[in-house]
Amino acid sequence: MSAPALRAAVAAVAVAFAAPFAYLAVRNAAEPGELWAAVSSARALEAVGRSLLLGTCVAAAAAFVGSACAWAVVRTDVPGRRLWRVLLPLPLVIPSFIGAFALIAAFARGGLLDRLIGVHGLPVSGFDGAFLVLTALTYPYVYLPVEARLRRLPRSLEEASRLLGRRGAATFRLIVLPQLRGAILAGTLLVFLYTISDFGAVQLLRFDTLTRSIYANRLLDQPLSLALSLVLGLIALVVVAGERAFRGRAHVESTRGAEPLVVELGKLRWAVAALLSLPVLIGLVAPTAALTYWAVRGRGLDLADLIGPAVSTAAVSVAAALVSLVVVLPVAYLTVRHRSRVGELANAVVVAGFALPGLAVALALVYWTIDAPQPLASAYQTLPLLVFAYVVHFGAQGLRTAQVAVAGIPASLEEAARGLGAGRRRRWLRVELPLATPALLAGAGLVLLSTMKELPVTLLLAPAGFETLATKVWVATEDAFFAEASAAALLLIALSALLTWLLVLRMEAAP
């Protein structure tokens, strides 16, 4: 795409992604006094402080856990690498309200583990509980892009470093880490935004963040709730701009086909495997075990009821993932290859949109479509609008990983291809796209998994009668039909594992 065409495309994307922010601005403009009163009250400021504290701590912990796991899986001979590659991303698919509820039931005093072996040690309330649960559910945001990056890291630099006499640790710090920086930052930012926008976990674990005030007041004091939502959006915009400045322009290179250098762990192999199992145990096995217990305990489950929702879930999630990729790719190109205001603006609204409460995104799209001229108005509560809403809400996850992918395409190859007379289209299809594929797929995988568990947008914007597994889980939980909820949740996890393997891992592995 030529630069002006690229700019025009990106401008269109920016306008679409600005819809929720514009809605919050319009609704708050009606009562500007409320906005000021909300942001200046001590109560709101304390809640903002708690959100930022939780977001920062969870982001830091997830950055460490996600990067360490990715390194162990790609660069060591830890046993069971193929299995870890499927299991490690999966906690991402567990909705936080399910994860929190199951972890309380599993680990709290008198919980399943306590009854089974008399152990209850994990914190399951307040800051500690929220920190633990959200870290265990979000580290895959870092794991996936870092793993993709590690697999495309050229071994030549490291080999040179070692030949020059640097030890493993120094090589890692000086050569590997700078090459991973972009991917780690990308994932960490997503974890931060996820955490400050989470409601399910903080509500059940009793930690009073900004989102709790937004939800608690949404009916009682709607202007306050809208003001606080705007505050959350503004915080996200500031953080995204900050990260953009901090990201820097480290030179990264991608290669493909080469097997990554593998560190032989020797006797430590099983110790590392044990460490890898920790996040999987807390983020996946414990919730799954609790769900299985409830599902088995219940009687008369009708699994046939879940087939339709499972197919719908897979279809809308794949659609959202693919559309996200197509939509964010121009933004990734513009922001990585050119300096452009439009690009910066698009980057900010796309990424910050992830931090808005799903309810605000849904209501914004109601606001913009219900009174709109045709044919937009007739899109109301149809699947195209639903997929659009998912893309607006989760596009950030595709964009940040796409930026990492585009940044990893070496300029030298592009020049070589040009020298050989390849046209723009051909260069892109034959040279750039294949190199960027793993990271792009990782991004699509993130959108896919998030969409599969999405709730508020689906409940309000899906066509009437359109059910996903997540809505099935939620509707059943709400009225304490735990066996039913658990069966649907388990199917959701299994389906996510299957789709992750089919669409991401298998294709990534293809030469």
Binding site: A108, R206, A464, A476
Partner: protein, 336 residues
């Protein structure tokens, strides 16, 4: 390679199938926004559709979120009927003139204390406020006779409440009407000072009580009945405060017709159907809620509501009082 192609064709096929079914629901169908979950209304919807040949589109969701959706949609809403889990959300819509009055005949099916005075909504079923307790830790003769006893020293740190939950807020609104603002405020402060434990919702409280984390919790009766249905060995039990104590008043779930409905005739037929003895029996036979139509008894394991139960409060005002109730709760220190 061929396997990959087959897979892709399969995925595309599924896509096309789902997309074609999902583009625009049946525009002629009666559209229901239901804050009541499928388990508590689905079979009735099917029965109605079958008996009347009226097609139904239903959107399940949280009553509060659906109320916000209806407010955002305004006149253009595709919805005809709103089913709510609590009167509070209905009050929010009534204030915005989004509800249409129901006919006299409809309202007569239910005792008048279970409907709004201007006929904007009518009760379908009821849930009762109770004290859920752990029968391993507490013997039945130790149980309090009034909700007001829970501020005493012996309950310090032992009672769970969900102050941000709609059912607790509705309950506090009722208490204000029955006992006055002063006594209610004092009770809420007493709970806060007595180190009442805060939970997210009814489910979380019953789960904590059944696990032995706390011995008591203030909830709607319905949830523990469901927990026991899933696992009869749980030690959690419901205690109804005796002698018409305000701690065990019933709260109703409601149905209303929207002002923007283009199918108000069908909508009214649906409301009438919900109140027939036949539909009401669903609540006594299949769920653990209280039916409201006269002559239909609740499930045998529930303590029946007193004959001609005197509510002692004006249900209508619950919605209007929601905001001041929330302020009262916040000022007590129970909720941030």
């Amino acid at each position: 390679m061929t396997r990959q192609v087959t897979l892709r064709v399969l995925i595309l096929g599924v896509f096309a199938g789902v997309l074609s079914t999902g583009c625009g629901g049946d525009r002629d169908a009666l559209t229901i926004y239901s804050g009541r979950s499928e388990n508590l209304i689905g079979p009735l919807l099917e029965q109605f559709a079958e008996e009347t040949d009226i097609a139904i589109d239903v959107r399940y969701g949280d009553s509060t979120d659906l109320a916000l959706l209806l407010a955002e949609e305004g006149e253009r809403t595709p919805a005809d009927v709103f089913l709510s889990q609590s009167p509070g959300t209905v009050g929010f819509l009534a204030e915005r003139d989004l509800l249409a009055p129901l006919g006299e005949e409809t309202l007569e099916a239910v005792p008048s204390q279970f409907e709004s005075a201007d006929g904007l909504w009518v009760g379908v079923s009821a849930r009762r406020r109770v004290l859920v307790y752990n029968s391993d830790d507490v013997s039945p003769d130790e149980l309090p006779r009034s909700v007001f006893e829970l501020t005493a020293a012996e309950y310090r740190g032992r009672v769970g409440v969900a102050p941000s939950n709609a059912s607790f807020q509705d309950f506090v609104s009722v208490m204000r009407q029955a006992e006055g603002d002063e006594r209610t405020a004092a009770w809420l402060r007493g709970l806060a000072e007595n180190d009442a434990q805060i939970y997210a919702n009814n489910n979380a409280i019953v789960e904590a009580v059944s696990r032995g984390e706390i011995p008591f919790g203030l909830v709607n009766h319905y949830y523990n009945e469901r927990f026991l249905d899933e696992d009869p060995d749980l030690p959690s039990r419901n205690h109804v405060f005796p002698d018409g104590d305000v701690g065990s008043i019933p709260l109703v779930t409601t149905v209303s017709v929207l002002a923007g409905s283009g199918r108000s005739e069908e909508a009214r037929r649906f409301v009438e159907f919900l109140l027939t003895p036949e539909a009401q029996r669903f609540y006594s036979e299949e769920t653990f809620e209280y039916p409201l139509a006269p002559g239909v008894e609740p499930a045998a394991r529930l303590e029946p509501l007193a004959e001609d139960v005197e509510l002692g409060y004006d249900i209508e005002r619950l919605g209007a009082e929601l905001e001041s109730t929330a302020r009262l709760i916040a000022d007590s220190g129970l909720e941030e």
